[in-house]
Symmetry: C2
Subunit: 313 residues, 2 copies
């Protein structure tokens, strides 16, 4: 079907919002920001065979496209509110679009996000999402701000998505769903933003994203024995020496990684616990200028995986 039929199909499934005086179907959307709040804006694209494969359900693709953007806003402590969708599609495929919207709009509804506009072009499949959110300017969290002596802590568990990629068909549903249906830590991000010195979401891998928290001269020591692992991961990969590289280098966890003063750890942990989410201290920041990974027996583990870069392999 045609471009305008597809747009109409999207519009028919989107409900209005009082904060969106002009939504889908005009040259631009008009939205009304909340007075006193700053805007948080992000964009992330997902690409076939990079972020997902043809074996995925289109609903999973729709979920992922929004989830990676939700996670970026979570890392700022922002509440997601409005989304734009830039679809480049090989053909006007209604079944593809409907499935995609099941995943995308299902997740949008869950987080109170309004789809306000977008664009459809013909070409190689490319899914771009722009997400806008709001954040109290007094609590917005940055990547920079960690200090020597800060605790390094992470929400949830690490390594499930990497294990799902590594094991392929042999991965169980628990691991698969972490890869295909990642849960952005939005509520935890808002709660943690008031407590932490710095925050980032783990999309490229723990070590790669930890490196973004290190300013000039700052280093960190990661205690491998403390890396939180899900039951599914422990069951699938029993040996810690095989599990740690997945937890350190594998991307797509979409957990939040924070630096916080030791005396904030208890209240931050309690905030997360009230949301049903663990916050686990996994190391500390120091003045070493490097990242070290330490086994429970105090020996250092050599790391040769430095995370995902789209133009390096």
């Amino acid at each position: 079907v045609g471009e305008f039929d597809l747009i109409e199909r999207i519009r028919a499934r989107v409900t209005g919002s009082s904060s969106v005086p002009v939504g889908i179907g005009d040259d631009a959307a008009i939205i009304t920001p909340t007075p006193g709040q700053a805007l948080a804006v992000t964009t992330d694209s997902i690409v076939l065979d990079r972020h997902f494969t043809a074996a995925w359900s289109t609903a999973d693709v729709g979920h992922l496209a929004l989830a990676v953007n939700l996670s970026d806003l979570a890392a700022m402590g922002a509440k997601p509110r409005w989304a734009l969708l830039a679809l480049t599609l090989p053909e006007g495929d209604v079944a593809w679009l409907d499935g995609f919207l099941d995943g995308f709009l299902g997740l949008a509804d869950e987080f109170g996000v309004s789809l306000v506009g977008g664009n459809i072009s013909a070409g190689s499949l490319n899914i771009g999402v722009q997400l806008l959110g709001e954040v109290d300017p007094a609590i917005v969290a940055h990547r920079q701000g960690a200090r020597a002596g800060d605790v390094l802590a992470v929400t949830g568990t690490l390594g499930d998505a990497a294990a799902a990629l590594k094991l392929g068909q042999r991965a169980g549903p628990g691991l698969q769903s972490r890869l295909r249906r990642p849960q952005a830590r939005v509520a935890a991000g808002i709660a943690l933003a008031a407590e932490v010195d710095a925050m980032i979401d783990i999309s490229d891998g723990l070590l790669a994203d930890l490196a973004h928290l290190l300013g000039s001269g700052l280093g960190a020591r990661v205690s491998l024995g403390q890396l939180p692992a899900s039951d599914s991961l422990v069951e699938a990969i029993g040996y810690t020496e095989q599990r740690w590289p997945l937890q350190l280098g594998g991307g797509n966890d979409y957990e939040l990684l924070v630096a916080l003063a030791p005396d904030r750890l208890d209240s931050a942990t309690a905030s997360c616990r009230s949301l049903g989410l663990a916050l686990t201290p996994i190391g500390e920041f120091n003045d070493s200028g490097i990242i070290e990974c330490v086994r429970p027996d105090n020996t250092l583990m050599e790391i040769d995986h430095d995370g995902w870069d789209h133009f390096k392999t």
Copy 2:
């Protein structure tokens, strides 16, 4: 080079703004909207061999990617302020990126737009831009709002870009530059928003975009003899019967098409003239429910081109 080198290369060329407390390099950008203004948000992607060809300079591609988005905000009467750039690139090509930024950032500077963030992925070339602007909620222009009896008017001239596409290598520099370096009518959009009943930018072709201004039962009569043509177009295509189809059906003009009450035409025209831009009345709205194109001798012209649809040819 790697993804993070490319991002650093972009960041090095972007200057800060007091409205952007957190710019490129964090999980999301933080921007400070102006109290009392509504936000206008749009996204448009451009794709190789659809919107540009491999023969174009990368600076032209960068200019076009932003210009099409500027035009969308112009059509709402909004002032563009902040942009995000979602690049999907086949490889980490520094020369390509530098040329692209020459065009993109050159145009951004011209309009006071800050590049605040974005995303780089590997894959088939795809350039997505999200543009945010601000608009006085009292004057925001919509596609809906035209009334029978309103004048139909257009800024600038029509058909140059279509002629450049049709003539290919034989098109002169005047026509080529309208195709590759379109000028979004931002200042005119802001001025016209206070005068018009409805407004749209012409991206898909005059008739296709005019159709978007027609609510239930509304029609329009276009006077072919009044369609404004540039000297370059008249020189390249002398016969009006050959020129009109290009002016009616060719896209990429990025002029503004407006519906306004007859008694607002003089002040709207004066506003545009003060910006060095013509505003030409080219027809009127009526209750016919259809669009008619009328020659100077009062005969109707049959139209078989209904504008650009990405999934129809």
